[in-house]
Structures are given as structure tokens and as C-alpha cells.
Symmetry: C2
């Protein structure tokens, strides 16, 4: 019935009669001649209704925005001055010869010409998605998943579905629970990831698994988290970290090449230690040229406690960021950056402006110059490579605070001073610690199934804090695209890790008995990775939020204004499930 999509009618159709379906994007009346822009998912085409065909013109006269219509007409070249080379349909127009209104439209509750509230956009999502920018993002996303699937399938990966109704995980507090009707008083949990199932599939010999799969996390929603999100999840057998990194790097490179015509090249690798030291982040944005430069060794003996204290403390850190052109900062700007660093615990932000790099200390400007000898300032300028017009900003505190505060400041300065270079800067971060210590307790930095690098269970137990894991994160432009690891395939090692994490034998058996069992029956070495699909598509489309690359996202309070979910349950249903809601004193 339809000749083609509206957006595909180009000059190759000139002279032909076409039939199209679509929506009225815009209608103009120019002295009795009516023009409409007819829209479908592939684009917009211009239609003209001429007084020579009064019956059709009469119908065209009734058209309003977003009416759904069927149109037939003859394709002809546009008059010279009206050609638009930027549109596929920009060289032609259609002289409408038949027009049928399929469905009328009320005035839309969303005004596409202005910003609409998130709530309103989500409530009328089906209208919001009509906006070309939105439908194009969903189409782009569909092409991404298709390309990913093809790449992985050609490499022997099998798409295998894992359960959504499953058992609560160690990070149980964030599990969505599902009451069971058959087993009253008991609950399923929605998976935060298919981690254990994909490991079991490797133990069953499936060799290479992948899945583009929904995962769930019931957490306090920060700006850009969603209760359900989508992972590109994969796992391989008999491959080490390098093997998995080669496959997944190849996949992302291929994707950027096919979808964006971008050549990413080989991804550099950086250790977690270097990333934290140089960029104050385990997901450094390498487009940003600013670096944290350690200067504690220069400041151990200065008569300025703010510096000498941390410089002499094994757990302290003194580092500096040189901002090219930053000497132009006003006192007010510096105050604002100081406040910003304060969010991350920094108690102040010492600074030195380089007004003239040929004049030694006389060319410098800073409230703290009096504490620093000529030798020291010379060394500081040399080490940071500071030139006329630059500013040095100092962090001096515990290593954690300095790293975090300067890491955040680095990002902000990079944006404010428009320092970002290059469009796409991917890298691998490797050599993570196995554990992180919080208040004297050890936590798995990745997850408890991650293998340590080159350690026996005994060696790991002897010094867990120093142990490195065989984990790897792929980072792009400061966003963690994906992370993975070599998994433990040895029962003794898995037990050792549980014990280091304070999971006693009974708890381990209760929660992970099936995994420990499975490790007894010829479990193979295996490793994998999971990408966040939403974030990947967000980056690739330049969207501002993962919500803009999902068809029906939730609000930041995990609700759906479109369907009004969640909602109170039917009392009979709660009775069937043997649960009751509990009113809290407010």
C-alpha cells in the first residue's frame, strides 16, 4: 500500500505517483495553497495542495498538527529557490492528489518548540517519542544492538537467556523482591546481573555466552540511574583477560566504525594506581589534558602546616593541577573552585598564579609565596611545566581527599576552560586492588567471584589488601562503558575470598552453595565482561541522559507517569501472596 517511507522520497522518485502514511508535522497556508510537512520515522517530506484540485484542498484545509493521514501524490522537483540540500527529500515536493484523514488529533499537551518538564514528557511519552530526535535515538539504539549481536555471534557467542525470577544476591539490599504465591512467605529477587548464571553456563561447557539483558537495582536514584537497565553481558571459557579485552575492544571499535565512521584505534591501558594518581579517577576522561602532579617531596620542610603535614604523612598527599591560562581567574572564581573542592572534603585550595615565567618568584602571585623558597617555587614551576598565564591549584590532605577533590576539580576545570581535546578517548583501566577497606572491613572492589592476579589462596589470605585482581574496565570519555574480570574457577580460592570478605562457611553455603558445588566438577577457567548499553548509546548519540535513549524510562523517583506505576495492589491479590503492607508512622 505504502510506496516508501516519507523520509525516503528523493529525486529518484520524480515523476512517480507515491502513496504515503504519516503525521502532519506542520501546515502552512500560503495564499490558498496549502503546504504540509508529512512525517514518519524515516523523515519529513513536503506536500503541496493546489487550488486546481479543490476536493483534495478541502480535506487538506481540515488538517492540523499530528493528524494521521494517507496521502497520494506526484513527486516533482522543487522550485529552484526552495531546494534544501540538507534533507534527503529536500530537492522534491509532492503534489497531493488524494488525501484521507485516518485519525484526528487534539492539540498536543507537549509543545515541541519549547522545553517540556521531564514529568510531562514521560506522561505523554508516545508523543515525546514522535520528535525526530527521540525516534532517531531509538532507531540508533536498535542498530547498535543489531551490530553488537552480529559481531558476537560471528565470534561464536551464543545468546542464552538467564532467569529474571531468581535468588537474592549478596548486595541484597538493592534487590527488587517478588513474593511467591506458590511458596508463601518466600521471595524471588530480580537480578542485578546474570553473573552467577553466566558462570554456570561456562561450567556447563557453553564456551561463549552473551545476552543483551535487563538488570535491576532498587537504589536511591541518582541523576542518571534507572531501576531497570540493560547490559551487554558476555562470558568466555579458556580465555584470559587479554583474550576478553581483545574481543570486546574489537567489538566497540567495530561499532564506532560502522555507526559513527569513527576509528578508535588501539585502546591504551592504564593501571588503577596510575589512573588515580594522575587523574584522581578510576575512569579518567583522557580528552581532558589536566593532570594531578605530586609535589609532596618538594614540600616536606616548608613552614606551612597545610602542606608539610600531609607531605610527611604516609597516608597524606600533596598534588597540584596546572591550568593553562588559569592566571586570569578572578578571586571570586578561585573561591568558587575552593567551594567546589570542599564538596569532596578539601579544606582549602592553595594557588599560585604565573604572571611571568621569566621572572622567577617575582613573576608569581600567591598568598602562600611567603612560605615557599625560590628553590621550591622554581621546582614547582619546572615540574608542572607552568608558563606565563597559568595557575597552579594545590590539594593537600589525606590521599583520599586530595585524589577525589582534585579529580573532580580536574573535570570541572576541563569544561570551564574548554580544554577537552579529541572526540573519543577510550582506554582500559587494569590492575585494580582485589579489596577496598572501609572502616576496617574489606569489600570486593569488583565482586566476590573475581580472580586475584597470580596468587595462591594462602598468599591471598596472608595479604589481601595488597592483592591485585584480574579485572579490567573499559572507559570512554570519563564514562565506565563496561567492566569485567577473570573469574575464580577453583573452589579453594573461592572459599578464601569468601572468608576474607567475612562470609562464614554457613553463609557461603546458604548463599553460594551451588557455586561452590559447581566448582567441584571440572569447572573451566572463564572470564567475561558486561557493558552498560544505555550509557553506551547515550554517549554515541550525544544524549544528555540515559532516559533519552530508553523508550519508557522511569522518573528519578522510580515511577512511570505514563501508566501510573507503581500503584496500590488489589487486596485479594495481597492475600493470595500472603503479604500485607505496613503503615509506617510518618
Amino acid at each position: 500500500m505504502r510506496t516508501d517511507y516519507c523520509g525516503n522520497i528523493d529525486s529518484s522518485y520524480t515523476g512517480q505517483t507515491v502513496t504515503l502514511y504519516g503525521w502532519v508535522n506542520k501546515r502552512r497556508d500560503l495564499g490558498g495553497v496549502i503546504f504540509i510537512d508529512l512525517r514518519d520515522r524515516e523523515g519529513i517530506v513536503q506536500v503541496v495542495f493546489d487550488p486546481d484540485l479543490p476536493d483534495v484542498l478541502e480535506v487538506a484545509n481540515t488538517l492540523r498538527s499530528e493528524f494521521c493521514v494517507k496521502l497520494s501524490g506526484k513527486v516533482r522537483a522543487r522550485p529552484e529557490g526552495q531546494i534544501n540540500k540538507d534533507m534527503r527529500t529536500g530537492e522534491i515536493e509532492i503534489l497531493g492528489t488524494a488525501l484521507e484523514v485516518i485519525n484526528r488529533a487534539e492539540v498536543l499537551p507537549l509543545d515541541w518548540n519549547q522545553e517540556n518538564s521531564e514529568e510531562q514528557r514521560l506522561r505523554y511519552r508516545y508523543l515525546d517519542l514522535r520528535r525526530p530526535v527521540m525516534s532517531q535515538r531509538l532507531m540508533f539504539r536498535a542498530k547498535v544492538t543489531a551490530a553488537v549481536r552480529r559481531y558476537l555471534e560471528e565470534d561464536g557467542f551464543l545468546d542464552i537467556e538467564t532467569p529474571i525470577l531468581t535468588k537474592a544476591t549478596p548486595e541484597g539490599a538493592r534487590d527488587y523482591l517478588v513474593p511467591s504465591r506458590t511458596h508463601k512467605g518466600e521471595f524471588f529477587a530480580l537480578p542485578q546481573s546474570p553473573q552467577l548464571f553466566k558462570q554456570l553456563l561456562m561450567m556447563s561447557g557453553m564456551d561463549r555466552y552473551y545476552q543483551i539483558v535487563k538488570c535491576f537495582r532498587d537504589e536511591d536514584l541518582r541523576a542518571d540511574r534507572q531501576p531497570e537497565f540493560t547490559q551487554i553481558d558476555l562470558e568466555t571459557t579458556f580465555l584470559d583477560a587479554d583474550g576478553v579485552m581483545a574481543i570486546t575492544e574489537g567489538m566497540i571499535r567495530d561499532l564506532f566504525n560502522k555507526m559513527l565512521d569513527v576509528e578508535l584505534g588501539d585502546f591504551p591501558r592504564m593501571t588503577y594506581g596510575d589512573a588515580m594518581r594522575r587523574y584522581g579517577s578510576d575512569k579518567p576522561d583522557l580528552r581532558n589534558p589536566l593532570e594531578l602532579v605530586d609535589v609532596a617531596d618538594l614540600l616536606k620542610d616548608v613552614d606551612f602546616k597545610v602542606f608539610s603535614g600531609p607531605a610527611n604523612d604516609a597516608k597524606g598527599r600533596v598534588a597540584v593541577i596546572k591550568v593553562p591560562g588559569g592566571a586570569s581567574m578572578s578571586r571570586k572564581q578561585i573561591d568558587e573552585y575552593t567551594k567546589f573542592a570542599g564538596i569532596y572534603g578539601a579544606k582549602g585550595l592553595a594557588w599560585i598564579k604565573v604572571n611571568d615565567d621569566s621572572m622567577g618568584q617575582d613573576g608569581l602571585q600567591s598568598p602562600i609565596l611567603k612560605f615557599l623558597s625560590d628553590d621550591i617555587t622554581t621546582s614547582l614551576v619546572e615540574r608542572t611545566g607552568a608558563k606565563t598565564g597559568d595557575i597552579l591549584l594545590f590539594g593537600a590532605d589525606s590521599a583520599t581527599v586530595v585524589t577525589e577533590a582534585l579529580g573532580a576539580l580536574r573535570l570541572k576545570l576541563g569544561e570551564d576552560f574548554e580544554l577537552l581535546q579529541g572526540d573519543w578517548r577510550p582506554l582500559w583501566v587494569v590492575d585494580f586492588p582485589m579489596f577496598e577497606e572501609v572502616d576496617g572491613e574489606l569489600y570486593a572492589l569488583h565482586h566476590p567471584f573475581t580472580s586475584p592476579r597470580g596468587l595462591s589462596p594462602e598468599a591471598l589470605k596472608a595479604n589481601p589488601v595488597e592483592a591485585l585482581s584480574d579485572a579490567y574496565d573499559m572507559v570512554l570519555n570519563g564514562v565506565e562503558l563496561g567492566g569485567g574480570s577473570v573469574r575464580i574457577h577453583d573452589q579453594a580460592m573461592q572459599s578464601a575470598v569468601f572468608s576474607i570478605l567475612g562470609i562464614d562457611e554457613e553463609e557461603a553455603k546458604n548463599k553460594f552453595g551451588f557455586l561452590l558445588d559447581a566448582l567441584q566438577f571440572g569447572a573451566p577457567p572463564h572470564a567475561g565482561l558486561a557493558f552498560g548499553l544505555d550509557r553506551l548509546v547515550m554517549l554515541m548519540t550525544g544524549a544528555g541522559s540515559i532516559r533519552d535513549v530508553m523508550a519508557f524510562p522511569k522518573t528519578t523517583t522510580a515511577a512511570c507517569p505514563l501508566t501510573s506505576a507503581p500503584s496500590p495492589a488489589n487486596p485479594q491479590q495481597l492475600e493470595d501472596l500472603a503479604i500485607a503492607t505496613v503503615k509506617k508512622p510518618s
Copy 2:
């Protein structure tokens, strides 16, 4: 590291040294020479360890079933008498030259040489899936989904994800509920299908949508249902029923052709009325040649109330199945079939054996002959085409009982008498009634969003019982592969259907307000279909249950013996969710 999969090593590798990873499928010791069958997902290859290499032989001596190993060796032709042409690797063997045990295995809790209980198989699913028949099914399934995706994507369908955390549906009693932590006392529901979301996507202009998607139903599990199952779900805009049927029939034909080298041909179409009348089922198995033949008109005046009663009742039915060769049935067999028909409400099963079709009533044998004139028996024999050696089995009762009982009996007789013809017999069933009446109330036979055929809202309201819907089911070998319909895109029609279903305005607004809203803004005509992927793969692989084509299914009581889900929840978590479990008096 690996040269290839074990199952791919064929005579083209002869003379080469290969490195393989895999599991010991079997180990035999033949006079000091050790043979192992090494297995991976692609198949099995034979390895020989020779006393000439004593170090390797010593390691080989320690091998037991399911050890995970790395092996290197030289590929050579098998001795003449040992060639197995049925296996890809059957012409070669590998002389093992290096062997490393990667992981040992305890004796398996499953004995693959005998039937294991479902519970045991699911508890050790990772071992059950190592069986080649099981891993091959999962691989087959992955190829099916890949082929389906490619077919649909080439036809312009976009893979768009719809939410898993959503609002309760009209069939709410079967919804799995998910308590919300952010909105205490309220619940999400897991979707029984993405029906409304895919309709909204059509209203947003996405034009063609598909998704291979998990759906959920918390129902009493019959033999072959699962709490979570997978649909191939699709929806199109501006296409009618024929359009959707052409696309989906083409997809299934292509799939059978590619995967099984089977040419399905054009699918015949049958009305729901014909299917029920001739086969006693809305999903007739056309491999079975038996049919229900109506004979009420012949039996209106017989002096046998069992026949004449239903024959004269407008809601009654008298029908007969002719079973070729059925005259050999013993009295006991007939009693068993009578009992079987009784399950479906039939109070008896009258029969006539045709011992000699050339002798008129003298050639017939039956306890009811005395009630039937010569004319009548002649007409019965003629209409059914009964021949010497056949039996006629009668159903006489309400139409519902006769149709259901003879429909079930037909299937059983077809199997017992081995009457099934042909491997694959697909068809479309069309022209369903819009509503079915149960105890005076009307229910939607498909769902409340299905469009009636060629009726205005007023005409539909005037006579809903007679209305046909624009719905279609694809049936293969007696199994409903998929079903779909043209949807309502007109607000007045949607309101009319809600009102016929007894959903008042307030309830409609509360449950489906967003749909009714959406229909006001230029909603396009749309239609779609959903296939049950599990059943499709089950049929194509010849598996006995959908559980055998899922990686990690639940038991028939909706539990997972592997992970012990569902399980009691952490009390703190329940408190956070503001719900409590309720103990029922037992």
C-alpha cells in the same frame, strides 16, 4: 591458544598438531593404551595416549569423567575398522603429546546413562546442560533467535525494549507483584506481555517494532508452563491482518527452511468455526486425518433419547468420528475411550463397528443398532465414508461437551492408531468471535484491544455475541505457535469494548486512561502478533517440554532447585519495603 573446537577436528587436520580444551566424556584403558573421548560444545573427538610417551600416559591415567583438560596432539587417520562416518571427527583420532589437567571432577551426582529426576536435573543444571542433547538445544535456540532477528530487521523492524517493572494488567490475578521501596505500599507488576507498550510505540510512529522478550505469569503451573517465558513480539503500523500474516508466515517459513531444511509451503487458513466443527479445537493438528462429522440431522427422530435429545436441541450437537481400522477395538479399549471422553464431560460413547461394508446393517455391530433404521445406518456409513474394518464413535450432548470431548478423543485416537501424516502441518485460524460468554458474562477471546471485523462501535454494542474479531492464530501440529490481531485505534471503539466487558468508565480510566488518551492524538491503525519462542524451539528440536529448551527453568511448582529460589527475605529488607509476610492458618 585453542586450534579449534574438539567437534570440528576432521580429516582436513590430518598430520597437524592441534591444541584443544574440553571435558573427558569417556575414558577406556585397552591393554595399556588409553583412549579418551574429549568433548566440547561442538562435539567429541577421540584421543589416544600411547605407552611410547610415558609422561603423557601417566597424566592420562589420572583422568576421570568430566575432568577439564588441555590437550595437544597430532591428528591422524583412524585405523580402517574404527572409522565412524556418522561423526564429523569419526575418520580421525589424535595422538596425545601433551596433557594438562585444568580441573578435576568429583563423581557426578547425575548418571547420564539413565533417566534422572527433573528435580535432580535442575539442581545440577550446569551438569545436565553438558549433555550434548541439551547443549545442542540451547545452541539451536540461539540460532533461531539470531535468524528471527535478522529476518525482522531486514524487514524494517526495530528492536525496542519495553519495561519489566510496569503496571498491573486486567488479568491482574496472574501478575507477579514487585513492592516499591520509594513508593511504600505500592507495587509494580511484571508484564504478561508488552501489549500496551508496543501499541504506544506504534502511536509514537516507530512503525515496526519487535522484541524477543521475557513475559511473566503467576498461574498454577500446568505440565508445560513456566512462570517466565519468552515471546517473539512484534507490531506494525498501517498493515492489516493479511499484511501481518504475510510477514510472520514468511518468517516461520524462512526459519524452517534455514534451520531444518523443511519447505512449509503456503499456510492454509481456517475459520475458528470450521476448526471447532471439524476438529473440535481452535488449534487443530492437521497431521491427524480424523474429523468430527455432524449427524444430528439424521438422528432427530430416532427412538433413542441420547441421540434425539441433543439432535433437537439448538445448543446440542451429535457428531461422529470414523476411525479407520477401529473395528478391531476390544470391548475394553472402547471402555477406556469412553472413560477418556468422560474427562471432558461426555456421559457415554456410542459406537458402530463396520465388519462388512457390503452387507448393510447386517455387516454392522453395535448395541444401538436396534434404535436405528436401515436408512439411517446407510446414511451414517455414507456420510462418514466408513469401510470394512472401521468404527464410528458418537458424541451426543451439548455442543460444548461434544466438541471438546471428541476433539480430545480425536487426538488420542490419532496417536494410538498411528494415523499422523506428514511432519509439519501449519495453518492459520481466523475469524474468532470477539467475545466468549461464561455464565452470562462476556470475556474478550483475545484481549480487550482487539479490533472487531467491519463493525461500528454501535453495531458491536448491539450484538456483541455475534461479532467476529480481526484476530489470527498460527497453529503448527496442534500447537498454537503465536497469535495476534488488528488493534483498535479508535477511541469510541475502545470505549465500546470496555463497556461490553463490563469495565465502567472509572475503571477504564484508572486502568487504561493512558491508552484512551493516546487514541486522541492521531493514533494510526496497527496490528501485530506474538510467538511463544519456547514452544517454537521445543517443536523444532523435538524436545518433550519447554523446560528442555530453557537454560535454567523452574520446576512445576515454580521453584529453582539450583539456587533455592524463592527463599525467605531479610527482615530488614521487608521493613524497608514496608511489607510483612502473613502466616495463614494451615
